[in-house]
Symmetry: C2
Subunit: 198 residues, 2 copies
């Protein structure tokens, strides 16, 4: 190991964080070493613990350090509603922005046969089993309306077909506050086709 | 600890890195947990080691994990030149932008009596001792031209007065009030070449 080894290693490790360039990583390393070693020690401790102990919820597949996540174990969530999302971060976004009070199911991606992501990788067998649980009344698809996302939604629709479940998806259209002229054509066409009576 | 405890702790710890907002910290945490646990483990390991083992060079006061840093122990650096900087990161900037091949001395700040930063905190006694080492011929002040920086430069000028040292400062092509580590390399190289006798 060279003399500047550990400092350079620290900068290189920080650069593996998404969105950090070399200047930012260097600035962070020097900031921690010169002004806030406690923050650095705390980050090292929490990071190590998180990488080892955080796994997937056995029920909804979101990230948690317990067998079952806080939402799945909560008695205050409505078990008749199930929202299907791609990523754990989608749950955070929905919890912050909406008053949805049901449960979630995390796919962990979208169907993409070319990348080797099939129904098994997304836990769709487990999702199909949940579709037949008696307390469930509505499943809401909150999947990005990309080509792969739409294919995934279609596949899940087929899974729900022989249950007496109500299946819905969040609305696709022009985002609130968006200028029509800057919205891409695909979105606009989709929003037109999906127009609703006033 | 709540259920989402460890994940939230990780996001909070990442937020203590300078320049990271809540959204970026969250994105980084999810990225590491879902796609790159090895990077997270490596960062935790290197961070812990760096916080414990990186100290100050006994000769130039820069950050190093050894008693004496790579530059101070190198036989290829010119011991007749000493560049005086505020921060270890200034050394990185100068090494990258210029062909300076002498040694360094890191003050660790600027004289600021109101903040309790006096000559002792900047190691100026050690610097004065180096001014009288026989092999030293020129000392170059590379201190940010802020009010406090200029006062610090003046104080160092007084220290060097009774030595036979040539004292210079980098040219003030560096914009007044600017921080050295954010100046572009070309300006910095220009200022280095244009250093003037004090």
């Amino acid at each position: 190991m060279s003399d500047a080894g550990l400092l350079n290693q620290l900068i290189e490790s920080l650069r593996r964080l998404p969105g950090l360039g070399p200047k930012s990583a260097q600035r962070m390393a020097f900031h921690l070493l010169e002004r806030d070693r406690d923050a650095g020690r705390e980050l090292a401790r929490v990071m190590a613990a998180a990488m080892e102990r955080i796994g997937r919820c056995e029920r909804c597949r979101t990230l948690t350090e317990h067998a079952r996540c806080a939402l799945c174990s909560s008695a205050r969530r409505d078990p008749s509603l199930l929202c299907i999302v791609e990523q754990p971060s989608d749950i955070v976004a929905i919890e912050q922005a909406t008053d949805y009070a049901g449960l979630y199911f995390v796919l962990g991606g979208r169907l993409s046969p070319l990348d080797g992501i099939g129904p098994e990788e997304l836990g769709l067998d487990r999702l199909a089993a949940r579709f037949h649980e008696p307390e469930l009344e509505e499943a809401i698809l909150a999947i990005s309306p990309t080509v792969e996302g739409l294919a995934t939604a279609h596949y899940i629709g087929e899974l729900a077909r022989d249950s007496r479940l109500r299946l819905s998806r969040i609305a696709h259209g022009v985002p609130l506050g968006g200028e029509l002229e800057f919205v891409d054509g695909g979105t606009l066409a989709h929003a037109f086709a999906g127009r609703q009576g006033l």
